[in-house]
């Protein structure tokens, strides 16, 4: 017997696995479709602070973020790749998104708060490579029967970014 919480977990795990395949197979238009029109895609900076200053570790909205995109900017990031001149991603990166540690909590308004951990391996050009780890905190909303990401906050496990850039989607 599957409880409603377990059913939700299964449904969302499938959602996140599908997202990972869309990204790794470079189906970026399909990936864009997973986001609501009013989405905020937010990747704050993470600072190296003492334990007693943990409240300052992740920068709040309003400070300089690594990414602070609305739907339009996400579309621009994808549209850029189709111009044939996105040199940083042409040849494209070879990625592998591993998603896990899903915890999903229904909210009162019918939306769901879900967090997942990721390990993304990226290989680029001849020998460039990068391992990115972190978590995503999503607010998910049902739109016409499908889940959409209404808000995503990506927390990278990094202070100084070590490799190249963040040209792959997380």
């Amino acid at each position: 017997m599957v409880t409603s919480r377990q059913a939700l977990w299964l449904e969302l795990m499938s959602f996140y696995i599908r997202e990972a395949w869309l990204l790794d197979e470079r189906k970026f238009t399909g990936w864009l479709d997973l986001f609501a029109d009013d989405v905020l895609y937010f990747m704050p900076r993470r600072k190296n602070v003492l334990r007693r200053e943990s409240h300052r570790e992740v920068t709040p909205l309003g400070d300089l973020a690594l990414i602070e995109d609305d739907r339009r900017y996400l579309e621009m990031r994808v549209a850029r790749l189709d111009t044939g001149m996105a040199w940083g991603e042409d040849p494209p990166s070879r990625t592998r998104h591993l998603i896990g540690n899903l915890v999903a909590e229904p909210a009162d308004n019918g939306e769901v708060n879900a967090k997942t951990a990721f390990l993304v391996y990226r290989s680029h050009l001849e020998t460039d490579h990068q391992l990115l780890a972190g978590s995503r905190e999503d607010v998910l909303r049902r739109v016409d029967g499908a889940w959409k990401i209404a808000r995503r906050t990506v927390i990278l496990d990094a202070n100084v970014l070590l490799d190249k850039n963040l040209s792959v989607f997380l």
Binding site: L64, L66, M76, L81
Partner: protein, 317 residues
Amino acid sequence: MDRSKLGLVEARVETYAGIVFATWATDAPSLEAYLGDARWYLDTLFNRRDGGMQALGPMKWLEPVNWKTMVDNCSDNYHVPTTHQSSARVQTRYLGRPHLSHKDQFESPNRHVFVNGHSLTFREAPDNTPRYVHGMSKDTFALFQQYYEATLPEVERRLGSLRARRVQLGNHSIFPNGVLGFRLALPRGPLQTEFWHFVLLEKDAPETIKQVIRIGSQANNGVAGLFEQDDVDNWRQVTAASRSRLSRRVPQDLSMGIGHAGSHPDYPGVVSERYISENNQRHFYRRWEEFMNAESWADIPIAPITARFEGTATIRG
């Protein structure tokens, strides 16, 4: 034990418009002398308002390049239409950003100006036009125009009419390793640089303006920036290529615009005729050579201040 000799090495610290500069050298010139006439231009960005500026950031990342590559890149305006074409195009389409083409760049009225070691670019803007920043789009231009007009009396009081209305600082580098506005290229070894990227905002600007500039900055510059993503492999690959034996037989050609720069009656420093020029780069590398070969600060020529600083703004803000 003489404890008085066991303290930390003290740096000498001075500020310009709230930006903190430090040096270990006790015999270095004052910050005012060091910035020299460059401050005449820098004021048009950093010293506009009574309330001064605030810094967001820094965003930090590492690249296997020499710090000088970043400074060179900062005055390199001809890579832009090629390297950043895809980012410019989508932003023209979605945001109504000005078109970017080789023709636009080569016909740009902007110029290089090398002044006392600092590599700047600037334009003489038409009257009543706010300085272009990332984040300006067809949706936000009116906001910037409004802000510009509302603050113009204050800026004119502080900087005088010419600098308030017409002189606009473009991409620039404060010697040795400050670039854009505002980023540090910190050497971590001969082929390793750590970038610290800040966004500077006028403290008294309305929240809407600050938000647009902040979002525009992260969208274009920084690790995930639409513009900057395409710079990274350029820097890495020119660095890697420069290390080969064959490559060392072919010195970097920096002859663009030789003979097409000089003093200007209205603008201090060595002003190039065109925006597309390598005048700044030539002067920058020679300046670096001067610093490397000097026995002390006494050997380093500091150009005297000749610019007329109209208005009430001072080095302290």
